[in-house]
Amino acid sequence: MTAIKPSGIFLLALFCSCALLGSAFFPGSASALGEVGVYSVKSEIPSEVQEAAETLQAKAELQRGDEGFWSYALSTLIIRFVGIFIVLGIIQVVMWISGRFFQSLEKRKKTAEAQKA
C-alpha cells in the first residue's frame, strides 16, 4: 500500500492544482470546449467547403491574436498535459494492482510448495 499512496497523492495534487490554475487564468476554456463540439459536426459538410472554412478560421485565429485565441491555446495545453498524467496514472494504478495480485499469487504458490515439501 505504501508504494501507491505517495504517487497517488502526487497525481491528485497535480491534477487539482492544474485544474485550479486553468480555471483561474483561462476562463475561456469552456468556450474552447464548445468549439470542439462544433468541430465534431463539420464532417457532414462537403470537403471543399470544410477546407475553405478551416483556412479562413486559421487565418482569423492568427489575425485575431486576442485573448480568446490564447486562452483557447493555453487551456488546450493544460487540459492535454494534465490528460497525459491522468492516462498514464490510470495505467500505473492498473499495473500496481495487477502487480500486487501476481505477487500474492506467487507467494501462495511458494507457500503451497513449501507446505508440500
Binding site: P6, T76, L77, V87, L88, G89, I91, W96, G99
Partner: protein, 382 residues
C-alpha cells in the same frame, strides 16, 4: 540536315531532357543538406538507419526533372510519391514500425516499477511548452502541435502526427526529431547535471522485482484497453505497439514476432526514410519555418528532459524509497538511447550504481506518453 538545325535539336535535348540547365542555387543548398545528413549517418553513425535513406531522399528529389516525387503525364504517381502516399499519407509505415518496436520491447522494468509511468508523463512538458512557443511565430495550431511532438523524441509518432496535421512540415519535423534523438548523449547530460545535486545523482535505487511471464503477457492487453478507451485517436499506433509486444510475450507466434522486429521493420524503415527525405524539395524546405522547427526542436528536447527530472524531484518529496533523478531524463522516449545516457551519467558519479534497468521504465513510459500526447493533439485538431 544543316549545322544550325543540328544545334537546335541538341539544344532542345539539353534543355528538355537533361537537368543541367535547370539547376538553381536552392538545389545546391539542398544537396548540401542531404550530404550533411548522409555524412552524419555514415561518418558519425548518428541514427544511420534513418538518416542515410533520408539524406539520399533529400539529395535525389533535389535534382531537376527527376521523375521521383511527382506525377507522370498520365497522372500516375512516381516512385517516391508512391512510397510517400501509401506509406506515410495512409499512415501505414509509422504503425508498422510501432508493431516492430512492440515486438522488440521488454516491458519488465516498467511493470516492476509502475511509479516510473508518471515520469513519462512529466517528460512531455516540452511538447506543450513548444506548442505555445511556436504559436508566437505564426504557426497555426495544427503546425504547432506537430512541432511540439518533436520533444517526445519518438520518430514514428512525430511522423504519424505531422502527416495527419501538417504534412508540409513532415520533412523538417522528422529530420529534427531523428537528429536530436541521435544527439541525446550531447543534449541531456549537461541538463541533468544542472538540475541535480551530486548527492541526488548518487542515489541508489532498490533492485527491481522479477516479473512473471503471465504478467508481461497481460500487460499489452490491459494497456491497449485503457488507451483505446481514453484516447481512441491514437489506437492505430498504440494498438500496433501492443500487438507487437503481445506477439513477443505470448511466445506462441515467435515467427511473426521475429519478422515484425526484423525483416518487416527493416523494409518499412527504408521506405520511411526515403519518403521523409523526398518531401524535402528546395521550394518547400528553404523557408524560415524549418529553421524555426530546428531551433524549437532543440528547446523542446531540453524542456522535456527538464520535465522528466523535475517530475522525479517532485515525486521524491512523497516517496519513501527515493528515485535517482537522473532517470527522469530517460522519460523522453528515444529508446534505449536515453536510458543508456542515464546509466552513463550515473556511473560518472558512482561506478557501481547501475541505473540502466531503472531508466528503461521511464523510457518506455515516455513512448506511451508521447503517443498519448499525439493522440490528444489528433483528437483536438485532427
Amino acid at each position: 540536315m544543316t549545322w544550325e538545325s543540328f544545334l537546335e535539336v541538341l539544344n532542345q535535348i539539353l534543355i528538355t531532357q537533361t537537368g543541367i540547365f535547370h539547376l538553381t542555387p536552392k538545389l545546391f543548398v539542398m544537396w548540401a543538406v542531404g550530404l550533411l545528413f548522409i555524412y552524419l549517418a555514415v561518418a558519425k553513425k548518428y541514427e544511420p538507419l534513418l538518416l542515410l535513406p533520408i539524406g539520399f531522399g533529400i539529395l535525389a528529389v533535389n535534382f531537376p526533372l527527376v521523375p521521383l516525387m511527382g506525377f507522370n503525364d498520365d497522372g500516375n504517381r512516381q516512385l517516391f510519391q508512391i512510397f510517400y502516399h501509401y506509406g506515410v499519407e495512409w499512415e501505414v509505415i509509422p504503425c508498422v514500425i510501432f508493431l516492430g518496436l512492440g515486438a522488440m520491447t521488454d516491458f519488465g522494468p516498467l511493470i516492476s516499477n509502475p511509479k516510473t509511468m508518471v515520469v513519462g508523463a512529466g517528460a512531455q512538458l516540452g511538447v506543450f511548452v513548444t506548442f505555445i512557443g511556436v504559436l508566437f511565430f505564426g504557426f497555426t495550431l495544427k503546425e504547432a502541435a506537430s512541432v511540439g511532438i518533436i520533444g517526445g523524441a519518438d520518430g514514428p509518432t512525430t511522423i504519424y502526427l505531422t502527416a495527419k496535421l501538417a504534412p508540409h512540415l513532415l520533412g523538417a519535423n522528422a529530420l529534427a526529431a531523428y537528429s536530436y534523438m541521435a544527439m541525446v548523449p550531447l543534449i541531456q547530460p549537461p541538463i541533468v547535471r544542472l538540475m541535480t545535486t551530486k548527492k541526488q545523482r548518487l542515489i541508489r535505487m532498490k533492485q527491481l522485482r522479477p516479473v512473471s511471464k503471465l504478467e508481461k503477457t497481460i500487460f499489452p492487453l490491459s494497456v491497449f484497453t485503457i488507451i483505446a478507451l481514453l484516447i481512441p485517436a491514437v489506437t492505430p499506433l498504440m494498438g500496433m505497439f501492443m500487438l507487437g509486444n503481445f506477439m513477443r510475450e505470448s511466445g506462441v507466434v515467435e515467427r511473426l514476432s521475429n519478422t515484425a522486429q526484423g525483416a518487416l521493420m527493416n523494409i518499412v524503415t527504408i521506405f520511411l526514410g526515403i519518403s521523409v527525405g523526398a518531401t524535402m524539395h528546395a521550394d518547400k524546405f528553404l523557408t524560415p519555418k524549418p529553421l524555426l522547427i530546428f531551433g524549437f526542436g532543440l528547446l523542446d528536447f531540453a524542456i522535456c528532459t527538464m520535465g522528466g527530472v523535475l517530475t522525479v524531484h517532485i515525486m521524491n518529496l512523497f516517496l519513501k524509497d527515493k528515485m535517482n533523478p537522473i532517470i527522469g531524463a530517460a522519460g523522453v522516449s528515444a529508446v534505449p538511447m536515453a536510458a543508456r545516457v542515464a546509466q552513463i551519467t550515473g556511473q560518472q558519479e558512482d561506478r557501481h550504481n547501475f541505473l540502466l534497468m531503472h531508466a528503461i521504465g521511464p523510457n518506455l513510459a515516455g513512448v506511451i506518453g508521447s503517443a498519448a500526447a499525439a493522440g490528444m493533439f489528433i483528437a483536438m485538431f485532427g
